[in-house]
Amino acid sequence: METYYKPEDLPKFEEIGKEVPDLADKFFDYYGAVFSEGELTEREKSLIALAVAHTIQCPYCIDAFTQSCLEKGSNVAEMTEAIHVVTAIRGGASLVHGIQMRNIAEKLSM
């Protein structure tokens, strides 16, 4: 079935540098540096990336960072917990806006 998202496009990511290579180089250098071990391990960074991938709902990112998490030694339980963390933040962000609703409602109500 024809679809906008094609798994075979994922390895072509670097082709984005064909027309504007200097910006792509800067991005990929930065990208590589971000995911190198620093104060956080590569495994921890991949778990964060996996969680964010679910928040931004990017199928390429979910594919890439599921593999990356497994390759860096995470297990499915850890990966699932990471997704719950961003789900909680996302849900919490909606819920905390309820205070705005309450403030406005309070102002308008007798």
Binding site: F28, T41, E42, A64, F65, L70, G73, N75, E78
Partner: protein, 330 residues
């Protein structure tokens, strides 16, 4: 998404057959490399395909139903060969070598002939309640134990190695620590091996070792010396699983696209000779699985006057990409 490396594979799907890739030999030639033997320092002995486990990543298809097991006559031939050569390391593997009743004889007779004897253990065969004498034997001869321990997670471990294996492995490691293995003092070496629990490459060895050391100590009070991360080789039962699960093409692509010319110099087959349960010689245990004899010639251990010569050719096939992907497999 993650920037990916370029690929030599042309397949796009997840079919039931592996798609052709650039042959390993051709890739070597493209990089101006040849794979030849260096000085042989290690004798690897595969005692047979009998195993109590049926691991899904096993390149040899080992299991409880396998009848191929090394007999005492071949053990004798190996002792004679070890006397003719001077090996620094003896590396005993299987199947589960603990299930071969010739193992104590092999270790006792090899012990004066090599300074380092290693046994690759799945832990559950060693700690099945019937082999306490082996714990004592290993301790007496200072045998280095290289134990399979793929994951800190029970579900991952058991999806690769079978139900109940995780707790059995923990119990075996606790027992080995109590005997003096892996702890400061007695000098008894306990190393762990972590193979990926699926169609993906292993994690960084140093990072994994650090994490396993912290978690094993914190959760179970277990200590060990070193941890090695090895990629799974697409042969035997693992190959069957890759094909059945539709992962073969992507996995092979991952291995071949990760070819690192710098890793070729350090691959284990350059310094090792592997003898199978029936006494024939191979360049490595993966070639045993594939039936590729040492240097492409069928030679029995009794025909070898000395260790293989430096500069002699090594038999290669496409599974060799496993040992040259990334930082390599030594």
């Amino acid at each position: 998404m993650e920037p990916a490396k370029s690929s030599k594979v042309t397949d796009k799907g997840c079919g039931k057959r592996a798609m052709p890739i650039e042959p390993f030999r051709q890739t070597l030639a493209t990089h101006g490399l040849t794979l030849e033997r260096d000085q042989t320092t290690t004798l690897q002995i595969n005692m047979g395909l009998l195993c109590n486990q049926v691991c899904r990543h096993c390149h040899l298809d080992a299991g409880p139903g396998r009848k191929e097991n090394m007999n005492s006559e071949t053990v004798g031939h190996i002792i004679d060969y070890a006397k003719r050569c001077s090996f620094e390391v003896i590396d005993i593997t299987g199947g589960a070598p603990e299930l071969n009743h010739n193992l104590p004889d092999l270790i006792e007779r090899l012990s004066p002939l090599a300074p380092r004897i290693m046994i690759r253990s799945n832990l559950s065969a060693l700690n099945d309640g019937k082999r306490n004498h082996l714990f004592e034997l290993f301790k007496e001869y200072g045998v280095v134990i290289v134990a399979s321990f793929p994951s800190l997670n029970q579900a991952q471990t058991e999806s690769q190695r079978g139900r109940g294996i995780f707790s059995m492995s923990i119990a075996a490691l606790e027992k080995l620590n109590a005997l003096g293995y892996g702890v400061d003092g007695p000098g008894l070496e306990l190393n762990l091996v972590s193979n990926p629990t699926g169609a993906f490459l292993p994690s960084s060895q140093s990072e994994t070792e650090k994490r396993f050391r912290q978690v094993l100590l914190k959760k179970w009070g277990i200590a060990f010396n070193n941890l090695f991360t090895f990629a799974n080789v697409p042969l035997g039962r693992f190959r069957d699983w890759l094909l059945k699960s539709g992962n073969m093409n992507k996995y092979i692509e991952k291995l071949s696209s990760g070819f690192n010319p710098c890793a070729v110099e350090g691959v284990m087959c350059r310094t090792m000779v592997s003898v199978s349960w029936d006494g024939y010689l191979y360049d490595c245990d993966f070639n045993v699985a594939r039936g590729l004899y040492m240097g492409g010639r069928k030679i029995h251990i009794t025909e070898m006057a000395a260790s293989p010569e430096s500069g002699s050719p090594i038999a290669v096939a496409d599974h060799c990409y496993t040992c040259t992907a990334g930082t390599g497999f030594t």
